[in-house]
Symmetry: C2
Amino acid sequence: MLTKWLNYIVEKMEKVKDDNTEEQILDAAKTVFQSKGMDGARMQEIADKAGINKAMLHYYYRNKQLLFEAVFKNAFSLLAPQLNAILNDDSSIEEKIKNFTSNYISFVIKHPYLPNFIIQELNRNQDFVLKLKENKGFPNLDKFKKQVDTEVENGIIKPISAEQLFINILALNIFPFVAKPLVMALTNTNDKTYKNLMEERQIEVSNFIIHSIKNT
Amino acid sequence: MLTKWLNYIVEKMEKVKDDNTEEQILDAAKTVFQSKGMDGARMQEIADKAGINKAMLHYYYRNKQLLFEAVFKNAFSLLAPQLNAILNDDSSIEEKIKNFTSNYISFVIKHPYLPNFIIQELNRNQDFVLKLKENKGFPNLDKFKKQVDTEVENGIIKPISAEQLFINILALNIFPFVAKPLVMALTNTNDKTYKNLMEERQIEVSNFIIHSIKNT
DNA sequence: GTCTATAGCCAGATAGAC
DNA sequence: GTCTATCTGGCTATAGAC
């Protein structure tokens, strides 16, 4: 009886240990893959960062490719809700722009390498796009399109296609983080002054867009 | 006498051959590095594409790192004039925006991987930034700043900092190409319809910016 | 200058003990 | 589940003949 109970406890503990290891690996892999990319990442570095050894990585994720895909899917599942917020909620276009712009910066502060990682790896491997699109919850423009068309018809905003507006919103928000080193060099800023620029943009960008499209 | 003359011809021919080989290597390296990145690129693939063998790559460029840097510098020296055009010529802000926007797309058609390559590799290796900034001809914002401030004071454009305006112009123009696979997935377009979107943007983008900043 | 052959290293993956 | 030790292949780089 005591033995049975002990076995149960041991199993439990192993289960917890497993979960921890698997998560620690994913966490370490996230850091390394997102900063070095698939090609630049080293399994050894991931193992070190997770506090285990290489063999464990293969035990849990079979190979580098699969570990990478786990990280990638996980990353995209964090970005998608950000995009769905602007596409699918019920506020006006103007409110959506304001909300997205101010939300996006806090998202990037939490996950600084994430947008660049996704963009870079989608460029490297076109097939990922297809896999992503199969998912439910993949951002869909339909509702946003209808809304833009309606607001244009009602004269609330100037004529513009939903696609172009959406691209503009993404570009103005995402680009300064993706191209940070380039933009820092061109604007001759350091980390501190660049951060100031980015904070200004939380208001600047939504004003910039709204000025452009709003009928007065 | 005849021998001397023959030697001269042979030397000439070898010189031409050298130049060709060196250029062919750089050309092949450009293609491979710009699509695969430093880490993903393989010397073998570059050699194959150049129609020579690996040993020649080392003969001309010593090692992968130096070959890569040659490609990178070359790439940036193509991008810099595009940026200097908007920063340093003498037309009005409005004209500059129109010109840059319509020029940039033909630049990208000629060099589709180039902007992404520069952004990506600057992210990977921060030191390149310092090296680039040492160059004469590195884009400088001073003149553009004065111009923006003047036009703001004169009430031609709405109050905006030169840095923010410059970032916006870059973002709206460069982002859709850098993030092409992502944006294609989100807007549910294929290569053909995406190209249409990009062609529309030649006018759309400059209108979008000018609407936003111009006083009426 | 150009080639073939190979050195030397390093990374991903596996075997097998515990 | 976790470890050490090792295999295997691939890649950069060089040696050396022509």
